[in-house]
Symmetry: none
Subunit: 193 residues, 4 copies
């Protein structure tokens, strides 16, 4: 029960930000969900912005770390890519609130989070770029594709599938099936012939 108060606030903020969006989310509501007083939040975070940034900075860390762990288990870039896609969609399925934040709020954070650049997000994207470069080095992937563009293409594709699933009320869509389809398209698309 008496888990770390800071962590409780962070979890509550993820839930409320994901549900209501940054602007419609009320600090008092976050406090209520976290079961702390409003003022307590300001003992652990500078302000509402800082709370949002902290979510990205701190909650993305274990996600990225976990992803890296999974990827090291495979040698081929092709396998790594498959794992990445599956892994990402698993994450979405397991942490839909966090997913919602990453997808929607992060994209416009630069608007309201004064000068925040979203470094963790970039780190995450970089993983894809690195896999692709590895794939090119290992002669698995075509040379005429720019890794920087590829990472955006893949992330965009996966993210759109995720967004759609997140926004769908019923959640009847099978993310595993979608993952397979994405891999089918992208892998053939970049494979060295």
């Amino acid at each position: 029960m008496t888990t770390d108060k800071r962590e409780r606030i962070l979890k509550a903020a993820i839930k409320v930000f994901a549900r209501d969006g940054f602007f419609l989310a009320k600090v008092e509501e976050i406090a209520k969900v976290a079961d702390v007083a409003t003022g307590t939040i300001y003992l652990y975070f500078e302000n509402k912005d800082d709370l949002m940034i902290s979510i990205f900075e701190e909650e993305m860390l274990p996600i990225i770390e976990h992803m890296r762990q999974e990827l090291t288990a495979h040698e081929s870039a092709t396998d790594k890519l498959i794992v990445f896609i599956n892994q990402h969609l698993n994450l979405i399925q397991d942490h839909p609130d966090m997913a919602q934040l990453m997808q929607v709020e992060l994209r416009q954070s630069s608007k309201f989070l004064h000068g925040y650049e979203g470094t963790r997000f970039r780190e995450y994207l970089a993983i894809i770029g690195d896999i692709f470069k590895l794939g090119q080095a290992q002669k698995e992937f075509r040379d005429d594709i720019n890794p920087s563009i590829f990472k955006q293409v893949l992330f965009g594709a996966v993210d759109q599938i995720a967004t759609n699933w997140t926004l769908s009320k019923t959640k009847r869509i099978h993310l595993a099936a979608s993952a397979q389809q994405i891999s089918a398209i992208i892998l053939r698309g970049v494979a060295k012939q």
Copy 2:
């Protein structure tokens, strides 16, 4: 100069919403940019929400129409897909404000625009799905890819490229080059072998 006042407000709103985001955008600022009085906005629109919705509903129409026009000029689904990608990124380049809105704000609009479903956006997505189905019928594309998933994959890829370009301050990236790369990946990915 003295164009339709309604249109002037709409254009101003696009600019301000794109720059500041829906919540940080001030109605008074929109009025200032449109060079009308604050109250005038409420002669043409119910409220701030309605202004946002009207942008999507009315400004997306010519965009979709223009896209459809371009597509009819080609027979093969492959060519249509190439055109779609190029066309979309051209649009982004020519109407960066509108692009920004479509990419970011629209995605979270369901949050604050009470029950707004974004039908125009769906129409836009449907175009891709239809091209893909045509491609399958014309034996250009693989049969084992679900058109509904494909439309998301392609849109997600293109949109991510667009988002990245939109958010980049310098705009040094060549969207035309990106378009070529996306086509290179996706078309080989879905081509019937």
Copy 3:
């Protein structure tokens, strides 16, 4: 149809002010009811305040005149009083909008009608005072009652009955019966024994 435009506005204002109250009444609504343009109202009246004041000043005139006419038909102050009560409640029944204004809005007009003193209303009250003085002179009424207080007591009594009737949705109450009861109480109350 094309009656005097000024009169049409005045009648519309009575209706709308009575229905909505001075503050909730919109000038545009008055214009709509009068079937004129908003700006036209300002050709005939200084502003919203002036419109309200003009109602009292001009619409009360015929009412007072009519009352005076009826009263001259009787000699005895007792009869005059009975006529006054009946006549006033008749007026209420026939001009409920005007009645509503006199009862409610006039009482607080000093609040929002800068320095308006309601002279017509005072004239109306004076009629009662004059009848009472006559009654005292003609030895019909007690001498120990102050005419100024009496006029308020009678008007208050009649007005409260009227207010209650006006506010009642069903209007089932018979104002004629009420008039008889008021007369019964007041006349015996002031009669010289």
Copy 4:
């Protein structure tokens, strides 16, 4: 000084509503008079309407209670009526702000206070009706007078005197003398001969 903040706001609202009227009263002004911040008012009351309704609901209670207390000290309905009249005018004299509200604003409250029926006011009126019925049962008052009409006649008379006194700038009029005159008229008017 540091009395209950809610009470302070209520008192300030009575003063400002009485002075300026409901519509001209500014929430910020009420806050200033109550010596609290604007937002504080909304911690204790839903909105401006609720503030007005709360005044009637909560401030009328002790008034009615006090009136009832005074009335139980007398057996005869005649005495009760005299006490009621004196007591009411005393109240007006001691709480002129509250009186002003009851007289003027309450009457039109149905206009702006969505569906508010003013139950406390009716309770107050019922007291008079009950005294009159008692007087009829105790053979003090005439049988041919409808108690429901009588309560309006008496209240109207007393209220008009009160309104006049409230609106008079100088307040030179002696309410005690007026009370005696009202009693003189009404009591003889309803007395069983």
